[in-house]
Amino acid sequence: MPREVIDLPYQVEYLSVLDEEGNLLDEDLEPEIPDERLLRMHRMMLLARRFDERMLQLQRQGRIGTFAPIKGQEAAQIGIVAALRESDWMVPSFREQAASLWRGQSMESFLLAYAGFYQGNELPEDVRNLPVSVPVGTQPLHAVGLSYAMKYRGDDDVVVTFFGDGATSEGDFHEAMNFAGVWQTPTIFVCQNNQWAISVPRYRQTNSKTLAQKALAYGVPGRQVDGNDVLAVYVAAEEAGERARSGEGPTLVECVTYRLSLHTTADDPTRYREEEEVEKWQKREPIGRFQNYLKGRDLLSDHDIEEVEREIKAQIQDAVDRAEQRMKDLRGQELTMFDHMYAEMPPYLQEQRDELAAELEAKEESDA
């Protein structure tokens, strides 16, 4: 053939289940989710939202440092992890508090880490989350390695990794997708396309129409979903999970969502985006939509919501109290900076530790 169009193995689909008000768009697409899980999803989305608000407050009060709020992205996170198993692994970036909490990570762990205590990253054995990864786009490669190892060990778990729209521009993202495609690893790549990478809008990040279509470059299926529709996200994650578990390899899921809050607490969005845009997306905010859906199914009442809100509030308060107590206990433990650099402390490091120990003593004396 002189000039022929090559047909590509995959198409890029867009998926949504609920409309902006939370009504079903299509009965057939409604996932079968046990009621108690639906309610847990709602509770965790709400918990993540309130925890986010509280952390912002704590940061403004100087009780913790810089962190990345998740407001508006609760569905994109809970929809994914709710469709997975506890034994699966999660490899997050730095904006996945909701997903991490669902998977059993404690609020204290975040409070501690964001208060500058690395002890917050010491995750319990049974929580298969990696800690926050700050260098954008670098962590999907870890997910691919983890999932290769699972496959090697014959374990039928999967690995989900989260990253943002901006992360898709990094070379490491490309290499991760490509390795996963070649190795056919059980990896779910979840892009939380929240429209912004700090001040850089999605359209300046890449010229491709969707981020989902980037999967085509690797012979991997890509899906785009309404990331503010927790049911659509759930369906996409379930499909990707089944593919992965049945040995059909990785999937890229682009969750189209929006960062309703600040990039981080150090950021001032008014410098680069219009209030109208935020308001537009506020209407598509995921929690309200999901609540309407649950109400429509008589699974949730306004009274229930108040109830949940009350419980959550107390839960968060406990976490904050425990975390601040823990911070007090951890103060003055500067010498721990020498721990865990290596399994065994090398002599020169030991010398440096002694150096600091002497200095801290001297300081105490002079302070006393």
């Binding site: 500058g116 260098p135 901006g166 990094e170 850089v200 890449t206 410098r271 911070m327 900076m337 002079s366």
Partner: protein, 328 residues
Amino acid sequence: MPKMTMVDALNTALHQEMEKDDRVIVLGEDVGVDGGVFRVTEGLLEEFGEKRVIDTPLAEAGIVGTSIGMALYGLRPVCEIQFSGFSYLAFQQLEAHAARMRWRTRGAYTVPLVLRTPYSGGVRALEHHSESREAYWAHTPGLKMVIPSGPRNARALLVSAIRDPDPVVFYEPKAVYRAFREEVPEEEETWPLGKAQVVREGDDITMISYGAMMRPTLQAAERLREEDGVEAEVVDVLTIAPLDHETLADSVRKTGRVVIVHEAPRSLGPGAEIVARLVEKSFWYLEAPIRRVTGYDVVIPLFAYEKAYLPSADRVLRAARETLETPA
């Protein structure tokens, strides 16, 4: 003369150089609309437009690699890596191409780019936002490695870096960004790359530092005078590579005693090279072992314990006293 923070001073240098020379182009993440996350590039987009002030996609190798291409065409790209802790994604581009193109082509092609990036601890930041790894670049033949310590020399050095015909890695001590103001002349001012500066004269001991560590070093020097009646000579290295060992050695020939201060990890840090050069150039004048007051060989801790990692005036002072007490 207007009093400026280091951020103002760097911004002034960029404004003035871009006005003077349409080859100068600024690119990086959030350098345009947002004016840079530390506002160093504030107002440049408004004044010089999208063609010269580019909000790039999120990719460090891409930023440096395309800057190399621009420089090859005769432009003078000043690219920003948002934090030096992410610059390693561009390591290959810097080591394999920026640093070598002149050498590789025997001068036929050159890469006059500046890579600006904030380094240093002390700002309660997240992981990867507080490192000091200038040694990586200082050990790379073909690169120049510059670190200012205050608003005035920051402005002068950035102008010199932009005009320099070779690639310059320009580390900005973020702890100093807004820490204090200094008079910075409106009219152009430069400082030659590769030249250290004696910022305080003294005969008893030489204190060598640079960047954000100049302040604890100078504080320690003051206290030595007040509390011990000792006159310390303080040298600001300013250019880590090529290192101006002559200025350092001259001072040591006078004082015979040396303390080096930096926040980079100790092993293979810039202090090691300074010791080695002083041993080469002024061994017979040394009256005591050279002391290194530095960051420890650990990852700089998150901010709860960060202060203990960073050299403090107390630490410098203690090391200086021990060095002074050593009988020759």
